[in-house]
Amino acid sequence: MLINTVILFLRDALPFFVLLSLVLSMLPVGLKWLSLSLLAGLAGSLLLLDQIDRLSQQLAGAGMELMLFSCHLLVYLAIVAAAYIYLQELQELPHSAKSKQKTTTLQGIAGLMIATSLFINGVSFSIYFVNFWSQADAPQSILLGTALGLGICLSISVLLYFSMLWLKQMFGPISIVLALVLHASGQLADAVSLLVQVDWLEQSEGLWDLSNIFHDQSEFAHLFNALFGYRASPSYHQLGLYSVACILPLLGYYWLRLNFNAPTQSASTAAARAQEQK
C-alpha cells in the first residue's frame, strides 16, 4: 500500500506539480488566485466522486475518457492563451494599468488550468483514498506513502521552479513559454490514448521504441512524461498531435508579433523590467 501510494503520486500527481512550477515561475505568486484554484480543483474532484461511476458508463463506456480528454484540451488551450498574454504583458511598463489588467487576466487563466489539472489528476487519488482508507493498516501506509510521494513531487517542483527562473534570466521569458507549450502538448498527445482505448480513434503503429533506454515504467520516464510528454513508443497520432500542438502556438505568437501591433519591448520598458528584477 505504501509503495502503491508513492507510485500513484509519481504517475498522477507529478504532471500537476510540473504545471504548478511552470505557472509560478511565470506569474507573481498570489495567495488569493492560487488558493482559490486549488480549492476549486479539489472540490471538483471530490464532487466528481459522486458521479464518476455513472459517468464512466455513459456513451458506451467512453464517458470518462471523453471528459478527461476534454479537460486536457481545455488545459492546453488555457496554457496557449496564458503564454500569449504573458508575452504581451511583458511589453507593458511594470505596475502600469495595462500590465495590472493583463496580470489579472493571466491569473484567471492560470487558476483555470491549475484547477482543471488538479481536477483531472485528483480523481484517481480521491477514488484510491476513499476506497482503501478503511482497509486494515491502510491509513498508516497511505499517510506515509502520501508524505513520501508528496515530498518527491515537491522536491522536483522546487528544483524545476528555480531552474525555470535561471533559464528565464539566461534566455528570457521565451524559455518559460517553450517549457509550458512542451508540457501542454505532451499531456494532450498523451491523452490521445484515451480516445483510442474507447475506439473513438484508430490505433496507429508505434514510430520507434526507446523502451530499452527509458521504459515507460521507469522513474525517468515518469518525470520526462510529466515534463514534455515522453513516451517510449509514440504512435503516429501522438507524434502528429504533439508536433502540431507545439509548433502552431509558437508560429502563432511569431505571426501575431509580426502582423498585429504586438509591441516590441521599448527601451524604457526593458529598463524598468531589468530594474524590477534587481
Partner: protein
Amino acid sequence: MLSRYSFIVLLTVLSLNAKAVEEFTIELKQHLFYPSRIEVPANQKVKLIIHNLDEQPEEFDSFDLNREKMIFAGRKAIIFIGPLKPGEYAFFGEYHPNTARGLVVASELKQGEQHVD
C-alpha cells in the same frame, strides 16, 4: 451533390468501422485477473471486457498496451486494444500491482480461439 457524396463516404466509413471486433472477457476476483494470460490474434483490433467482481474499484493499467481504465466495483469496462504485433504485453491493477497482474499474448490464432490458463 456534395452532400450525397459526403453521405456515401460517411456510410462507408461507418460500415468499415462497424467491422466485427473479437471480444475477450477477463474477470477480476479478489484482486486477481482470471484468466491472467489471454491470447489474442495479432495484427487486429480486439475488445477486452473486464468485469470487476470485487467490492473495490481497480484501475486496469498497461504500459505495454498504453491503456489505463478505472473499473468500479461490480462494473464492467470495455477497452479496445491492437492491432498488436506478435508478442507479450503485460497489464496490472494499479491499486494492487503485486497480485492483479496479467499478460496479453498476441499471436497468429484462428478466429474465435481463446487460450486460457
